[in-house]
């Protein structure tokens, strides 16, 4: 019978906590507590399943063939290993997750490249004391003045 040869992967709970988004913390906690319950229950199981003392019963039960009969039937009994139809689902989920992660990674890389380009552009502007106003408007487009009010105070006097 399946003794303690479970292929349990070691879990890094810190990393597990990191990847959970904020709104799913409750589900993650329940998962974690369920895991702990199961491990504790598994730990309290004895090593081997209990064995029936056939000799004692054979000596004491009066009916002749009963004990032998039971013994034969019991040894012939094969408890089926519960079938595992859930790991497949988890694997399928994981595959999809890997795909979406790959997509996210590629998008993220594209974003990083854009950011790097902008960073380079900002790093390479000429020093401010050598800029003219046109250069300033080029680098920081928000400083561009409205063509309608080219002279100070750059807005109709009523808005002062």
């Amino acid at each position: 019978m399946a003794a303690q040869k479970l292929a349990l992967k070691t879990i890094d709970w810190v990393a597990f906590g990191e990847i959970i988004p904020r709104n799913q913390k409750a589900i993650a906690n329940s998962l974690k507590s369920w895991n702990e319950t199961l491990t504790s229950r598994l730990a309290t199981l004895p090593e081997k399943p209990p064995a029936i003392d056939w000799a004692y019963y054979k000596a004491n039960v009066a009916k002749a063939g009963l004990v032998d009969d039971f013994e034969k039937k019991f040894n012939a009994l094969k408890v089926p290993v519960p079938e595992d139809k859930y790991t497949v689902q988890v694997d399928a989920e994981e595959k999809e997750d890997v795909k979406s992660c790959a997509k996210f990674l590629s998008l993220s890389k594209a974003r990083i490249e854009e950011y790097e380009k902008e960073l380079e552009k900002i790093r390479n502007i000429i020093p401010f004391d050598q800029m003219t106003t046109e250069d300033l408007n080029e680098v920081f487009p928000e400083t561009r003045l409205d063509k309608k009010y080219p002279y100070w105070p750059h807005k109709p006097i009523e808005n002062l």
């Binding site: 349990l8 879990i11 790991t87 988890v90 990083i112």
Partner: protein, 229 residues
């Protein structure tokens, strides 16, 4: 005659004036090369911090150097003082009331500039510095913002590698639950069989006890009967 000498000297000295900046507004435009060729030479090279050296606040150094080979150190001074005296004596420059007002005004101006010029310059520079510092802040803030965005993306990428833990936990849970269930079933089978066997044994024990008691009772009854008969 001296005046002709002066004018020819000035004409000859004109080329060397090109290197003296801050000569006067009109001459400045002629000396810098503005936007020739390419559309823009941005950044336009900044103006030099200090103008060409001048003596007496007015006369550029080049005038003095020009006459040095011919006349030595005092050449220019002699030339200038001679000119001034010439203008005064020949009344080419007439001393009027305005002369004295000019002298006092210019004297006052020189005094004010000498005394407060530096501090006013610093004040103006400080204003400029503030503006530039503000712009620098904006630049640094945007650089930092972009850096933060990049770092966050990188950390999210790192998280992607840890996602498998979620599924590992689930798989572990499933495996453990299955193991437990199997053990439960085994244990149930054992318990049922043990129950049946124990039932048989306890039934036997009970029967034997009953038979013993019955026999004892029967024996007692017969003994009592035989005694009392």
């Amino acid at each position: 005659m001296l005046s002709r000498l002066f004018f020819s000297a000035a004409a000859a000295a004109a080329p060397c004036l090109k290197n003296a900046a801050l000569l006067g507004p009109g001459v400045l435009q002629a000396t810098r090369i503005f936007h020739t060729g390419q559309p823009s030479l941005a950044p336009v090279p900044p103006l030099p911090e200090h103008g060409g050296k001048v003596r007496l606040g007015l006369i550029p150094e080049e005038f003095f150097q020009f006459l040095y080979p011919k006349t030595g150190a005092t050449g220019r001074y002699v030339l200038d003082i001679g000119l001034v005296l010439y203008f005064l004596s020949k009344e080419i420059y007439v001393i009027t009331a305005e002369t004295f007002s000019a002298i006092s005004t210019i004297g006052l101006l020189i005094y004010v500039v000498k005394k407060y010029g530096a501090s006013i310059g610093e004040f103006a520079d400080k204003l400029n510095e503030q503006k530039i510092a503000q712009l620098e802040e904006v630049k640094q803030a945007s650089i930092k913002q972009i850096q933060d965005a990049i770092d966050m993306e990188k950390s999210q990428q790192a998280l992607v590698h840890k996602r498998h833990y979620l599924f590992d936990v689930q798989r572990n849970n499933i495996a453990m639950a299955l193991e437990l269930t199997y053990w439960e079933w085994l244990h149930r089978g054992y318990k049922e069989v043990k129950n049946r066997l124990d039932y048989h044994i306890s039934v036997q024990n009970m029967m034997r006890r009953k038979e013993q008691e019955h026999m004892i009772n029967w024996v007692e009854k017969h003994v009592v009967q035989s005694i009392s008969a």
